[in-house]
Symmetry: C2
Subunit: 630 residues, 2 copies
């Protein structure tokens, strides 16, 4: 294995990327104009902001509340950095003032513990989400500083992190604990990157190294307290797997437990692997990624097969109606794969990131940006619909911060290489070989696969341009200034590598044919045997009741006939729909008979499929991704 | 609608029936020799018997414990009546002595309340199973009296019932309550039938009539107590549906809630309909039966689609891996259909009774009679196995009492009609038209469908002989003394009716062809679309891992080829197995790929199916009833 830093990339920062396309730009605008202001209203109306005033007669906060505020600040900060809005800037400043006042003299900052049970500070790490909330505050502080250059929140979270560093660590007088919900680990690395303060990196490493060691911290801790979720957690089969503390992280090889916890842990492991060049952490990440990608991810990029644990079950267990596939978990999967890409520019990570982004993440928010799915099943009987807010409302601000920072996920670079991971129109501004490079990208992706890149340079410059060739594409073509470029001869881990001297106005054209594909599952996915899913480009399709005959489960696709793709500008904000001839089972001759020795009769029907991400944006009804095939 | 009593039949009592066949007789012997003694040991070892001694330092009883003892006495009594065993007789007498001593002076008898919380007597009807336990004691008292002519237990339960009658009833000074788990209603009707004491019938009617009336008894009651199951029941969506008190029983039209509670209620409704000639109760039973038989019963005759409520969900929702299908519920379904048959000799009731008996009931006990399923799923990944006993151990003695009394379910009669519902070899002794009739039955059922009946009479006697023509049989043939009898011209509601003067040694031969059938579900059963179940005669088949390639879910049956049935005396105690050629999906080319745009390859495989009731009697492994069909 090569040394880690040899392969290291850095994401092109948000500030250097403009998104200007027909697919994502409108969604980012909706996020800015509707979602972020609406979420602020929710923070007000639910008492989350008022709780920061720490009044005994004010709202009684829930342990997670601070994290919702933090994620909203983070989303708002990203948004400010791309589209300045003085009103939002002021709102954020006002909340930061409240956070500053809520911070205790020693640096501690947590509305729940300060108001409800100050005597239990750091005593219920397993359940209380105390360090988790701290982590989100830190992420917010970093984002706010980068976006605005203001240090108001950064100072608060540094003071908090400095205090945490006096409480936790390997020294004999410090606690050997870590959080039951991972998050602070990745946040501290972000804080280290912006402050260059080594202590934050070391503290993150301490939390990661300590996790799962024996004697088990939570076993000891819970002898002295009844944890906040104890009644629930007592019913769990394996609570240590649930929060990934069943083994030291470097020994973990199966993706287990709560999906969001797992993703945030793996993000931090990848970050730390890169920062301290720890190959054992990278190896663990690769092992876990293989287990997930080969056995535990829905075709939508959703993860988590089970409601009770909000998490993973066993290999190949991917139920469709009862899938959990939490929006936050799919977002976490994007975070993790994006980090893996910086360690190892392998298209498999870009593929999984793209799969989640266009399907299992985007389904989490309504087209109007006002309603959210907490879980994203792959089949519904018609009783599952997006909601405006949740008691535990982690998903809404999470999707908001991802949309507001989407630019960061498109490009990476190192000294002499520029990498394109996602096909999102706009431009990226790089410094490569000490030259200023602007890379323009233009397409009608994800509906069409023709993508044009244009180079803007002041002088001829030699560098590698790596362009992701998606795993879903069988016959990609590429040309440079009109000349065919042989991808097969220049492919490295799923990226076409064009190493040449580039000049101003050089043009690259990538053609990704997008036939409608029928997708099949590994035969061990028992839920999908003899079922097919429709995919075109990165978009996974579903069938909805409103477009099809009732009883979607009884529709079956013949294995041969053609499926047709057609752009419909009036449907669901403009999408490519897929249509074809199918059969469905006739219930008429069955009356009140439940079992017969003759099979049901089949009738022809027109099948209409729409992108999975866009489901439940019209009248309520059933939905399915996996369709019978005969 | 005809008046009820015109169609009324009475089951030929156990005393008048001898079972002598190759299928059931060995099972009844195992029940007598192994199961009943083993259950007594369990009653001893778990402290259930000792708890009757009411010692403060003795075992602390669970609210259900008395019912387990009662059902064991009931099973033992039936067994004694067919096969006298002085040791068992003595054991039962000894337990009855304990019950007598445990009875309080006013007649009250409940080990849990007497020891644990006497102050709560009758205060937690919703949760405490107090009247439920009383009901089982009453059933035991009736069975013991009929079997032994001893009044020891009958007197105890009459005293208890008399006392209950002073507590509950329509009079102003009495409680208007009823039990959260139905059972006493049907027990009181049994007690009425044996004692002719009208009070018991009236009390049963009171409980049935009162159920579901407003103001709701349980709402009022639970204002004054925290019910025994309150923490659990608070998590229920609809607790009133769970215990079928959501509406007055005559208004109920959907089978809802806890399956065993529902069955015991419907049994009592059918009994009461017959006793008081209440057509509205019969109509309600018919409505509920149509809902269940048309939409809510597994092909095995199991009922209850859901674990949490141990009960019914919505129409056509019949998941296979997660089915509950409690053994007790299938037994309750046999009880109810047997009662419906007495009201209306319609083959549909005999069909459902037979379906449950040979499949969903019989699967509840291992071939050696020593282990039990509490729930009977229609698919298993290999992690579900019978157990020797359960904390709540209702199922073991329930199946034991059904096996010990199976003779009662075979025949019914009224003045001038003898009805054959089940094909179980042996003989029944009737009094018809004041003549002594012995009807001999001989067959190799359920493995072969040729059934021979022989009449024994002292003199020529005219009566109707009604023989059930099973719904699964398409081309039954019948002959009387060698002459073809045209069934089509003499079929009434699924019974061939032979109305003639019968003579000694008359012979009837019924031929029920038993091809292997592929069974299909109503297209609205989404879990079974494009799946087929194998059935032959009354026996539903399954495939087990031990006989087939791994990954049973990936096996599919082509829609045409032949399935072969063959008796194998060495397999599972002697069964007809079904074999055929099928396909399964090859996992080899998939490696670590989860999704592909090419379908899995198919390979030929030999399929071996065995009776569902006999599964999990060899090495542990997966099982499926519904098999893919292509």
């Amino acid at each position: 294995m090569q040394m880690i830093k040899d392969g290291q990339y850095k994401p092109l920062p948000l500030q250097n990327v403009e998104i200007n396309d027909t697919f994502w730009k409108p969604k980012i605008n909706i996020n800015r104009l509707h979602t972020i202001p609406f979420q602020y209203q929710q923070l007000i109306e639910t008492g989350r902001i008022a709780a920061l005033k720490l009044k005994k007669d004010g709202p009684v906060p829930h342990p997670f509340w601070d994290s919702d505020i933090a994620k909203w600040i983070e989303a708002g900060s990203y948004s400010l950095s791309k589209h300045y809005d003085p009103e939002l800037d002021q709102l954020i400043d006002d909340v930061i003032v409240l956070l500053g006042k809520a911070q205790e003299p020693d640096g501690y900052l947590n509305s729940y513990f300060t108001i409800v049970c100050p005597e239990n500070r750091w005593k219920d790490l397993r359940d209380s989400h105390e360090l988790y909330c701290a982590g989100h505050l830190i992420e917010a502080g970093v984002a706010h500083y980068i976006a605005t250059q203001k240090k108001s929140l950064l100072n608060i979270v540094c003071k908090y992190a400095d205090y945490i560093d006096t409480v936790f660590g390997p020294e004999p007088n410090k606690l050997k604990g870590y959080c039951g919900h991972q998050e602070i680990e990745l946040a501290l690395i972000k804080l280290y990157r912006v402050t260059k303060n080594d202590n934050y990196l070391k503290l993150s490493q301490f939390f990661i190294d300590e996790r799962g060691r024996e004697p088990h911290y939570f076993d000891e801790e819970q002898k002295h307290i009844k944890g906040y979720f104890d009644d629930l957690f007592r019913t769990f089969d394996n609570l240590k797997e649930y929060n990934q503390s069943h083994k030291p992280v470097r020994e973990q090889d199966q993706v287990v437990g709560h999906s969001v916890r797992a993703m945030y842990l793996y993000c931090a492991m990848a970050d730390l692997a890169l920062e301290i060049e720890d190959v054992s952490l990278l190896t663990a990440c690769e092992r876990l990624w293989n287990n997930l990608n080969g056995r535990k991810v829905y075709i939508t990029g959703g993860i988590g097969s089970e409601h009770k644990y909000e998490g993973f079950t066993f290999d190949y267990d991917l139920p469709n109606e009862t899938s959990y596939a939490e929006t936050c978990a799919a977002i976490g999967l994007v975070f993790w794969n994006h980090r893996m890409l910086q360690l190892d520019c392998d298209g498999k990570y870009a593929d999984l990131m793209e799969r989640s982004l266009y399907n299992g993440v985007l389904s989490g928010i309504s087209l109007d940006g006002k309603k959210y799915f907490y879980h994203n099943p792959l089949a519904s009987l018609g009783d599952i619909h997006r909601k405006e807010w949740f008691g535990v409302s982690c998903c809404p601000p999470n999707i908001s911060r991802l949309l507001a920072s989407l630019g960061e996920y498109i490009y990476s670079q190192n000294e002499n290489t520029v990498s394109v991971h996602l096909f999102i129109g706009g431009k990226g501004t790089f410094n490569v070989q000490n030259q200023n490079l602007v890379l323009y990208q233009k397409s009608n992706y994800p509906w069409e696969g023709d993508i044009d890149f244009t180079i803007e340079l002041n002088q001829e410059t030699e560098f590698k341009l790596k362009i992701h060739i998606p795993g879903w594409c069988k016959d990609a073509k590429l040309s440079v200034n009109g000349e065919t470029f042989n991808i097969e001869d220049h492919i490295e881990k799923g990226y076409a590598v064009i190493n040449r001297k580039w000049n101003n106005n050089d043009k690259i054209r990538l053609i990704l044919p997008m036939p409608v594909e029928r997708m099949y599952s590994h035969p061990d996915v028992r839920q999908n045997v003899n079922h097919v899913a429709i995919q075109r480009g990165p978009i996974v399709y579903c069938i909805e009741g409103t477009d099809n005959v009732n009883n979607l489960h009884s529709i079956s696709l013949p294995s041969n006939p053609e499926l047709k793709a057609e752009y419909d500008e009036n449907l669901l904000g403009g999408i490519v729909k897929v249509t074809g001839i199918a059969q469905h089972l006739d219930i008429k001759p069955w009356d009140d008979t439940l079992y017969k020795s003759v099979p049901p009769e089949e009738k022809h029907t027109e099948l209409v499929a729409v992108p999975y991400y866009a489901w439940d944006n019209r009248e309520p009804g059933p939905m399915r991704v996996w369709i019978s095939e005969k």
